[in-house]
Symmetry: C2
DNA sequence: TGTACATCAGTGAACGCGCGTTCACTGATGTAC
DNA sequence: TGTACATCAGTGAACGCGCGTTCACTGATGTAC
């Protein structure tokens, strides 16, 4: 029967790590830094996880949940303003808030190119998160979209966000986001127009 | 007047590093390993570069040239078989060879999510490479494609390759590549069909 | 052509530092009586 | 309700290791005469 106190510490550690990996990358995250951010000293770490890799795996899972939660909130707000599910999703994912707010965003776009180089346990969790992202896209695409649309649009979202971040907080970076949004909506969001059209 | 011998060593170092960053990521590359791969000992490194970061920047530039060269070769082969410029480019970029051959491929897709966390000198070179990739896409798209197409298709290519690699060498990974190829060509490659249609 | 010398690319040992991991200890918590 | 004790989450010093970087030295190259 694990103590409540330990559970709370565990939560803080995983939370801190889930933000750290998105901010610094897997390779930029150290045990000591995460423990400090969780208000603990690094020595106690191995009472919570058998290894740094086990922490990274748990952090990736948590980051996926957290990113999905926040995206859902942004999406609900835009839905309330009348946007179609696809438009709401695309405008949230490719928002300027997501461009600059890596730490609270989607871990797939924050970490994609590092995933193939991680340990099997991290890759496994990451693959599940990629699959969930593809599934989420399938749910917001209109029925008229082809069978390849979910993969294509997810790829565009993840790729565009990374290219924009690589270009930095510049006009070019923001232009990448704008172009990607436009291109996706032009192609897939036809039934979002008012019914009269 | 630098000696010919030193120039040759310099080339080998940059070449080794350009492969290493694509294989292991920026953070996975060490000075000693690169020097060893170039057939030298690590002590001599600082006669060639002022710092590890300077090496990473040079390696990124070289990787961009190398990746572009190889993509051009694959594209020329497919062009010779009758493919349109866009089809040739897309089938080369999203080929199984590029999926598994990270080391000789496009450094943007190999490193995208690590770029924002690099030193200014590395980010600058990387941003140039992103821009070149966007320009290259602009040249293979048909004139009928909209103004956002180059950004959208580049994002899809980079995103799809990374998602496929994240899913590993599995049926799902290969399915991502196939779907992305199909979706891009369905949308933008209409003038590739025989003129009679 | 041959010898003496200067240059300098490359060697290998050493440095300080930060990292993941271990472990003996502490002190707060909560149960037994 | 109060005291004695067991448990165990967390502390902090220490470990081995690999890294980026430095530096005194070596030995091959090529020029001067």
């Amino acid at each position: 029967m694990a103590s409540r106190r330990k559970e709370l510490s565990h939560e803080r550690i995983v939370d801190a790590a889930s933000r750290a990996i998105r901010r610094e990358g897997y390779s930029g995250v150290g045990v000591a830094e995460v423990m400090k951010e969780a208000g603990l000293t690094h020595g106690g770490f191995y009472a919570h996880f058998p290894s740094r890799d086990a922490l990274l795996a748990a952090a990736m899972d948590r980051a996926g949940q957290d990113g999905a939660d926040r995206l859902s909130q942004g999406m609900a707000r835009r839905r309330a303003e009348g946007a179609s599910p696809l438009r709401a999703w695309v405008e949230t994912y490719l928002s300027e808030a997501h461009l600059t707010g890596c730490e609270g965003g989607c871990p797939v776009s924050a970490l994609a190119s590092e995933i193939p180089r991680q340990s099997p346990e991290v890759r496994e969790v990451a693959a599940t998160r990629v699959q969930r992202l593809l599934d989420a896209l399938g749910q917001v695409l209109p029925a008229s979209a082809g069978g390849h649309a979910a993969v294509a649009v997810t790829s565009t979202l993840v790729g565009a966000l990374q290219l924009a971040r690589a270009l930095g907080d510049t006009p070019q970076g923001r232009a990448v986001l704008a172009s990607a949004r436009q291109a996706i909506l032009d192609q897939y969001d036809h039934e979002d127009a008012s019914p009269a059209h």
